[in-house]
Amino acid sequence: TRSPRSADRFVVAKGLQNARCYSVKHLSVQERIEKKRKAALTGGGQLRIAAQHKRGKLTARERLELLLDPDSFVECDMFVEHRCSDFGMEADHNKYPGDSVVTGQGRINGRLVYVFSQDFTVFGGSLSGAHAQKVCKIMDQAMMVGAPVIGLNDSGGARIQEGVESLAGYADIFLRNVMASGVVPQISLIMGPCAGGAVYSPALTDFTFMVKDTSYLFITGPDVVKSVTNEDVTQEELGGAKTHTTVSGVAHRAFENDVDALLNLRDFFNFLPLSNKDPAPVTECHDPRDRPVPGLDTIVPFESTKAYDMLDIVHGIVDEREFFEIMPNYAKNIVVGFARMNGRTVGIVGNQPKVASGCLDINSSVKGARFVRFCDAFNIPIITFVDVPGFLPGTAQEYGGIIRHGAKLLYAFAEATIPKITVITRKAYGGAYDVMSSKHLRGDVNYAWPSAEVAVMGAKGAVQIIFRGKENQAEAEAEYVEKFANPFPAAVRGFVDDIIQPSTTRKRICRDLEVLASKKQTNPWKKHANIPL
């Protein structure tokens, strides 16, 4: 389970390491320390660094420098070396101080973060026992002090020479990923290959980002695929950034290149709390909290069949129109992401009428559910914009298990105890109405715009059932529309707290968030809940 050829290349290239061979006994300890530090800083050596650059990739250390505030990185375990003594690995020239990963902690805009950055120039970034041990050490510390962990992945896979030790290393990391889940935010940025067992660490973290054209994630590479299933597929098609951000939904976003990705990661980090005990950060807000948004009064078209862009609503309402969308190209019928309201981080969930009418299907339910659970775990209030015609019908969906997948989103909203604000912009039909953070699932503040329609289904379908076989269907339809295609049925029952003018939505939400900041709500004691996976 490693990418073909990468480790071999390092054995072959050992002749290049002569410069590093020195006689230990003639050097004082001080000199030895300096030598080792210097060696650690150059990783696999200048030639491999040049090769890394040539691939359009930065080195492990350059990446950390970019990610962290200047001079804030404090390295840990620089002197750790691998312990393998087979296949000639014990030779001095095969030992690299720090081995194939750089670990430590630093600051992003002054806020603490633990990091590890796999070094592709050392044995292709392959995972040895020592490598895993280093990663585990910083993860344990991060849990202890309550700070996020960011992993920069660029690794050919397991260190084959170490055999089971390497596999044990992976499992040690997986366990910590699971233990840290919901305690501190964990982010993976895939900046090179990440194949085989290695993929499960990113899969367990809260967010997985990729770099376009230079990063890959797959269980088995194209060669194995070919030999097993006879499929011809390129690395890019099988596990490139495009595949995982549009088709599989494994990755949450892709960026143009290393620099772009790391700078975006810094921006993204600003939205997150340090741990589940930490409130979400508040930034200085230049955008008036009571700013009216006149464009929203006309955004919902008169014809209920006509689409509009939910992102227009989101951009209009949030601070400075800044919205960090998560999974923008996957299950586009639901929009999720982070923004700020009056400087406070909020999670935004919205049905997207522009794509598949904004219906809920398997992918959008899972996408939404995972996002809601992240927000709930880390005290980030959720604002939900509802325009949903229902769940997507059809055999593909039923056979795929829309019932259990749709239940995930329902479950996530229901169990969430963070402040929940819901705005019904237009349709809220059927079971999907219940799911989308309705009052009944402990929504704190639920609003309807004047264009809202809360009903079991659209007028036409409803009339066909209520007045089956009767004439005057059109008349009945008009009556149904008059009765249900407006916010009143929900409002008179208190299922929405108020019917608000769309242009005042920002002002209302900012005010509510202030009130709800002190919200305390707990679920009954349980070992853990049992979300329908």
Partner: protein, 640 residues
Amino acid sequence: MAAYRSAAGFQRVLHAVKHVCFSKQRCGVIICRYSTVYDPNEKTFDKILIANRGEIACRVIKTCKKMGIKTVAVHSDVDSSAVHVKVADEAVCVGPAPTSKSYLNMDAIMNAIKQTGAQAVHPGYGFLSENKEFAKRLAAEGVTFIGPDTHAIQAMGDKIESKLIAKAAKVNTIPGFDGVVKDAKEAVKIAGEIGYPVMIKASAGGGGKGMRIAWNDEETSDMGFFLSGHISDICANGFCWCLQVLADKHGNALWLNERECSIQRRNQKVVEEAPSTFLDPDTRRAMGEQAVSLANAVKYSSAGTVEFLVDSKKNFYFLEMNTRLQVEHPITECITGLDLVQQMIRIAKGYKLQHKQSDIPINGWAVESRVYAEDPYKSFGLPSIGRLSQYQEPLDLPNVRVDSGIQEGSDISIYYDPMISKLVTYGKTREEALKKMEDALDNYVIRGVTHNIPLLREIIVHPRFVSGVISTKFLPEVYPDGFKGHMLTAGERRELLATAAALYVAVEIDGEKVEVSGEWNLASALLPITINGKHRTLQVCKHACFKLRVLSKLAASLSKHMPEKVPEDTSSILRSPMPGSVVAVSVKPGDNVAEGQEICVIEAMKMQNSMTAAKTAKVKSVHCKAGDTVGEGDLLVELE
């Protein structure tokens, strides 16, 4: 929970525009001090229906309100929440989105008139404004048409008849072929006789519709494909001047000076000014008098415009008469102080003109920029559509008038003209008016649609435009390879970089210290700053003319390792350059096409665009068919 702002990792794109910002002097709007009074005792209509939409409907309603007249708006179903509907006292839906079913739907409009009891109809421009059938039907119902009578509309609406009348009225006319051309062959023959370039015009077209310039035989015969009947005129590299006339029903007529309308793209005006830099008082009077005599010759009443083409020797030739209120009428209002809509209503009610020719002044200078939702980098402006996600008119600047019919949240749809607004500035001198135009354009915030402000701003500061040497070929001559956007000077580049960087830290550019200060608010679209003592207004937005990335030194140095992304090879892919509908597809899969061969025709907003092959190849697949609606960037045809 420290308040912080990211110091690095910053990527904002700046759209740079230039020069003084007056945003601190919030003076309110003072423009068009109309000299005419709205006499409350002068009896007028009780209720007027405006058979139009957008800015002109809003413009007419504004005057009606001042005159105490109730207004009725008509609208298509997609326009039901449009501004002109909101500002009117009553509104009637006259049909679905396509203009032929709504704004041109005479039956529905006649019903709306009956239903609301409107006594008169103002047609605005376009739509039914020069439709004699409509004027007739109104007359039959006893409803006043605010415009000239049917006879004048008919006579001036026909390009051939109008020329004959003009000749008879001793108005200078252009040498050329005054007749209907049968087919492409004949067109080529006549064009050859006249000499290229020639202008080919559909007999009943107006406002640039169906007006095309041909430079050679091939282009002339190509046009036969689009038009069935037309006349040819010589198109000198000349000027286009419009003389505003005003005539009442009692035989009185006035000329209200000229409008210089030479800056055009696709034969549609983009920048207009009044008065003209080129015209001396004698020529002006001569043109004015000819215009008035033409008006008298057709017993014209109401406001109208006589268009002249002028050659470099100041010879002027009658081109056509527009029997309606024109788009660019505000600049005439600015320099004369007359409210043309009020005058039209008075004339329609049967009043005599209030003014004598000697009362008509030229006060100062007015410039109008037509702000369009279009992409100026494609043929000086291909229509774009979208929703105005942010919209802010520069109305806090003095001497700025904005005539618009949209607001934040409005949709610019494929159904109607993509004009966003008419931005008018006024000054004592031309220089002052242009300076104000610069400020106004810099302070105009439009997001959500591609707009032509970058082009407008380049035109009004271009040395050739500033010096007044303007002609109808200004754009193709100044930008022979098409408009590529503003080219930053070294100084501007430095200032732009400094501003971007100064949003975060103090700056030094290329070893030179640049002082940037200002009270900016990152949540605002406008960024008023002082840079090395100069005031400038910048705008920050995602899709901007100048893309800037602010990177730390480290990030900038590491960026050199980043791979260059290979752009998609577009020569084998034909994409729609704008949203519109497919009129014709002339190839099918397997066909061999030559470079430059027409592949399909896309129509958008009054225009037909011929899409041609970028290389000689075999057609791989066709992704559209005639009648399809396509969006910008949609794949049309793939070549092998």
